[in-house]
């Protein structure tokens, strides 16, 4: 990147600076730590200079935003053209309560919706299923049927606003409910936009809300890709996620490597079925964590874009739209403390800033009380304001990729890429992503990192403000979210009503058709849609698939 002669001179000057200035200084005042290592255990040295990035070729390795390799951003204007979508993940209790929260958020300036479902829904159980006991609405909204979906989005213009739904095992079915609801309101499939998370591989690795075994799950996912680009072209049929992998305890490098590895696996699966890469690849999206180490996170997002573009090119993608990686970011839940909860606002601000400097397309900021409960109105409003302040007051949106060219950031971007490819090789040698999952490779890596991190905190090698340093003995007194206690009964009544009023024989016929198709290899989306339109419940539809596909049992890896 720089003239060889100039670099030589800089090197000489650096050596003399180290000898005359730096070493003298640390002799008198040693540095605070023996070694500075970031959260991925990469050693960070005291100073970065042009030497560290001299090997880079600007046009080839760094390039321009909106063009391959997309390191500096997926669009040429980035936030000068359009700000990231402010999309707060929300959901609790019954559809009525959550609908109210959505309206509140939209009123206060959020620009996209994001649905959190409760555990029974995530596992494909109706609210009245025995395993749903005690879990209704606790960590998200309960959606057992199309009726609930109708209430959830009542009064919300789904043709004008995009919705992201965090659902995996039963993603195809919940997506069908969203589509059916829009259709019933006269909104055609090609007018709705949004995302379904639909990333089963990371469920096996980290989040654990899987239902069926890997093979049939992949089949369902490719079904959604196919249906998506043909019928619902504005929809992102997958959000390949690293967030949960990070929350489970992985390092940033692992988050990057495992997520991209999963992504490539999905691409290969779709290609195996004969889908053209340039037809579906532009509808793949990603979801990353924004954790504490500011520069590491920024480097991570940049490296992600470059690696993905390169790898997809290798697989034969030709269109620009297929190569550019779009992603949503959420600030790290696991970095929040229950102690002195107000300070979480500060953490979230820094993490959100990293995501913005990393070029995210969409962002969720956590609320200060989320280590204790689901966010209260005030807390989520502050979280939203955090994004708005960054967008409007900080000036970081004035130019594209402001940190491009930083010696540290470019070096770290390269380093993370290097470490990622090492993981790609490891997984390759294990036979690929799914064999590696079955061998417990990812789970073991994550458990190891999680344990190491905890030890560092317990042994005071790593400071966790408010937890192992700067503690405060106080009663935590912030208002926590209270849910409607009558919500569960209301939901069960609604379910019973629904089962009574619908055309049962139509439901039975549709479920039968679905069962037959699931045993074969037809695309299941149209059949699932039929079931949903006739008001089959989530549980009933999933049960059919459970019968045909079986249920997945995970190995125990610590």
């Amino acid at each position: 990147m720089f003239e060889k002669e100039k670099i030589k001179k800089i090197k000489e000057k650096r050596v003399s600076w180290e000898k005359n200035c730096y070493l003298k200084a640390i002799k008198e005042n040693p540095e605070r730590k023996q070694k500075y290592k970031n959260l991925s255990e990469i050693e960070i040295k005291n100073l970065f200079t042009p030497e560290d990035i001299a090997h880079l070729d600007y046009p080839k390795d760094i390039g321009f935003p909106g063009e391959y390799p997309f390191l500096r951003g997926v669009h040429s204007t980035m936030y000068r053209g359009k700000l990231w979508t402010m999309r707060q993940f929300a959901g609790f209790g019954s559809a009525e309560e959550t609908n109210q929260r959505y309206r509140y958020l939209l009123e206060h300036g959020e620009t996209g919706l994001s649905v959190a479902f409760d555990y029974p829904t995530l596992y494909g159980y109706d609210t009245d299923h025995p395993l749903a006991r005690g879990e209704f609405g606790k960590c998200g909204v309960a959606i057992s049927s199309l009726k609930d979906m109708e209430i959830l989005f009542s009064g919300i213009p789904v043709d004008k606003i995009t919705t992201s739904m965090t659902i995996n095992g039963p993603a195809a079915i919940v997506w069908a409910m969203y589509i059916a609801n829009a259709e019933n309101r006269g909104i055609k499939k090609d007018m709705i936009g949004g995302t379904i998370q639909n990333d089963i591989l990371k469920e096996y690795i980290a989040q654990k809300s899987f239902i069926f075994p890997p093979e049939p799950s992949m089949r369902l996912i490719v079904d959604t890709f196919e249906y998506g680009f043909k019928q619902v072209p504005r929809w992102n049929t997958i959000s390949i996620s690293g967030y949960h992998i990070r929350e489970a305890g992985s390092t940033a490098v692992q988050e990057l490597a495992f997520t991209l590895g999963d992504g490539l696996e999905y691409v290969k699966a779709a290609m195996k079925r004969g889908l053209e890469i340039d037809k579906f690849a532009s509808r793949l999206s990603f979801f990353f964590n924004a954790h504490n180490d500011f520069f590491e996170e920024i480097a991570k997002y940049r490296a992600a874009r470059r690696i993905w573009a390169r790898e997809l090119k290798k697989l034969g993608a030709k269109k620009s739209r297929s190569l550019l990686m779009r992603f949503h970011t959420q600030t790290a839940g696991c970095s929040l403390t229950a102690q002195q909860p107000e300070i979480n606002i500060v953490r979230v601000t820094m993490q959100a800033l990293a995501a913005v400097l990393g070029g995210t397309q969409s962002l969720h900021t956590n609320s200060m009380d989320e280590a204790l409960a689901l966010p209260s109105e005030k807390a989520v409003r502050i979280a939203l304001r955090t994004q708005q302040i960054i967008a409007e007051e900080s000036g970081v949106t004035d130019t594209v990729d402001p940190l491009g060219g930083s010696y540290y950031v470019e070096w770290l971007t390269d380093k993370m890429e290097e470490e990622t490819y090492k993981y790609f090789d490891k997984v390759e040698r294990l036979g690929g992503v799914i064999p590696a999952i079955e061998k417990g490779f990812f789970q073991r890596e994550i458990a190891e990192s999680a344990y190491r991190f905890q030890k560092e905190i317990d042994e005071n090698e790593r400071t966790f403000v408010g937890v192992n340093r700067y503690q405060l003995d106080e009663d935590i007194s912030i208002p926590l979210l209270k849910m409607d206690e009558k919500g569960e009964q209301r939901q069960i009544n609604r379910l019973n009503n629904l089962r009574r009023k619908r055309n049962q024989s139509k439901v039975d016929t549709n479920l039968q058709k679905l069962r037959k198709a699931a045993e074969g290899d037809r695309n299941l989306m149209p059949l699932i849609l039929d079931c949903i339109h006739s008001y089959a419940t989530l549980g009933e539809t999933c049960d059919v698939l459970r019968e045909v596909f079986g249920e997945y049992k995970e190995p125990a890896i610590y």
């Binding site: 075994p213 036979g431 061998k439 049992k553 995970e554 190995p555 125990a556 610590y558």
Partner: protein
Amino acid sequence: MSDLSSSVLKGDVRSIARLITLVENDSSDAIESMKKIHKHTGRAHVIGVTGVMGSGKSSLIFELAYSYRKQGKKVGVIAIDPTSPFTGGALLGDRVRMMDLSADDGVFIRSMGTHGMLGGLTSAVYDVVEILDAAGMDIILVETVGVGQAEVDIVKIADTTLVVLVPGLGDFIQTIKAGLMEIADIFVVNKADRSGVEQIVAEIESMLDISCKTDRRIPVVKTSAKESKGILDLLDEIENHMIYLRKSKVFETKRRKRYEAELTEIIRKRLMGFIFDESKLKKKVEFLIDQISRKELDPYTAADEILGKILK
């Protein structure tokens, strides 16, 4: 401590569990009960399951237990995981694969650590087999760690020993410890839906062609949990093996060997306990070890002294 034997014989779960804990802790409270139950043992078919790590032993055991339950048999499962020699602790996770059976009253599953034995099964395992047997189990499945001596020692306790392998080991078969390949009464190639199945079956068969010592040809059974295949074949082969044992009278010989091993373990433990733990001899032993360290004495002479004291 009340005598647990009668409630164990009735199959009371709490008593079974409590007695197992007592024998695991070498509690003298257990001895009375153990003495009483011995004559009520001998009915259960003890099946040892061993093999390389990652071969899916736990899932296989789950499938076997499930099938035996369908036959109306009562099943006991002993799942052994390594105890850390440094901390003395153990993470016992084999039950995870068997959780669907945990609601079934006809199945008793117990997780045990290896208790830092340098290899080999602790005498506690023999005791637990006796307890489960006396409590009325028809089948007792013993799953051992895939490394160390324990995998070979399983033959001492089991009537039928299954050695579980998986495809993709390739030339690994040559390098697998000789002992593991010799103790099998039945070879199981698990995860047989993977590629490389025929290869590994062929390797095992050719090894058996060369070195099979008994008059019974050791069968190789392919199983796959994914495709729900092979379990019935495996059950048949286990049944066949039992028939063979009884017909050929090898059964009595095997059982006799088990009791010999068990007696040896009990004596060894008591003796070692007496020498190294009892305060009378302990001080003397410590003193002798110091002398050995200072080269004032050699280990053989020291042993003579200690044994001399006991055998007097």
